[in-house]
């Protein structure tokens, strides 16, 4: 084949041979540019001259690679969404494990302390993220929770509009308080305020756990269960319920003076089903 090519070239006039060589050089330079810019699949000079056994194979492979790359690019959305799904699935399973850790009916002291650290960490995130929204409901922790359980705040509270959220037990957390929202006010009781004069009840656990405890307090105290109490004044109702294990501790200056004793009761102040405040004592 190469021999017949040489014979053929020898029969062509010199000026034509020079022209052909120039064209070949021009084509060799333009071919990869045209292929990459215009998406063409022009064969290389080596392929045209029949020297394709080695390089041509590689070229074919590179074309395959390009094809596979472009096919990956063209299907990047489905792939991306899958990886996003994976990511969200991971984050969900992580959150679920966090929730299940904090979803015990009553807290043990050791368990409670570790869950308190978790809530403290979350609180720091919340504080940082919510600094721009002083009068709205909690944001970052809340948003994380809502994304994990299809719009349920803290995985429990149903958004009923008007910045109001309803717990599984029917308690309503809405706008109000100095913090702008009852949930924000409640979050103050996830951390101690050691400089605050008087007592400051601090819950163990996170908001989800606290919300469950408050539902439990409301249900038992409303039913006048053993050990509970109920005090009504005008529209306000103070409900108290005991717990078998510590659900928090007494902080503030009063708590500090007493060595931060465990709290095994919750006091819940409501107006109808609207939560005003709640704390352990």
């Amino acid at each position: 084949m190469q021999k017949s090519n040489k014979n053929l070239l020898s029969q062509i006039p010199t000026k034509w041979a020079v022209a052909l060589v120039l064209i070949a050089i021009g084509y060799a330079l333009a071919q990869p540019v045209l292929n990459s810019k215009l998406g063409w699949n022009l064969p290389s000079v080596a392929n045209l001259t029949g020297d394709s056994k080695g390089k041509g194979g590689a070229q074919d492979k590179s074309v395959d690679k390009d094809a596979s790359t472009s096919s990956r690019n063209s299907t990047s959305d489905p792939k991306g969404s899958i990886s996003k799904q994976d990511a969200s699935a991971k984050s969900e399973s992580k959150k679920e494990s966090t929730q299940s850790d904090g979803s015990k009916g009553t807290a043990t002291s050791s368990g409670a302390k570790s869950s308190k650290q978790t809530s403290s960490d979350k609180q720091q995130e919340t504080k940082g993220a919510s600094s721009n929204k002083p009068r709205g409901p909690p944001t970052s922790e809340t948003d994380n929770a809502s994304s994990s359980t299809e719009g349920l705040r803290y995985g429990l509270l149903k958004d009923v509009g008007g910045n109001r959220f309803v717990s599984p037990g029917g308690l309503i957390y809405g706008p109000g308080s100095q913090e702008g929202h009852r949930l924000k006010h409640l979050e103050r009781h996830l951390d101690d305020q050691p400089n605050r004069s008087g007592p400051h009840g601090v819950f163990y656990g996170d908001m989800a756990q606290v919300i469950r405890w408050l539902d439990d307090t409301y249900e038992r105290a409303s039913a006048k269960a053993k050990g509970t109490s109920k005090k009504q004044e005008q529209d306000r109702l103070v409900l108290e319920a005991p717990f078998t294990k510590p659900i928090g501790y007494v902080g503030g200056q009063t708590g500090k003076r007493k060595g931060n004793p465990d709290a095994k009761k919750i006091r819940l102040v409501v107006e109808g089903k609207k939560v005003i405040t709640a704390f352990p004592f």
């Binding site: 706008p175 308080s177 605050r196 306000r236 005003i276 405040t277």
Partner: protein, 97 residues
Amino acid sequence: MNDPANAQPTLGTCPFCEQGEVRVRKCSDQCAGVHFFALCDECEAIWLKPDLQAERIFPDAENATCPICNADLFGSQARWATKQELHGTSWSEATSG
């Protein structure tokens, strides 16, 4: 807070919720002028007199307003009164801190 003049005096622990700190709220309004009342920072119980044994009232849970001028209870026109601001008023003797 370290400056005694800027300290926010307290009337004591709220007798209703038994947790909140009752302090004096200073509110100002064009009609009512500067006025004071006591407010629990936990349950929002309100006293119009500097006496925690006196009758208390409760603002609306979601739209709490000043019991005197009806402005937003936590609006920019209101804040916790300082010791200096209470000097010479009936609230001064009832508070400590």
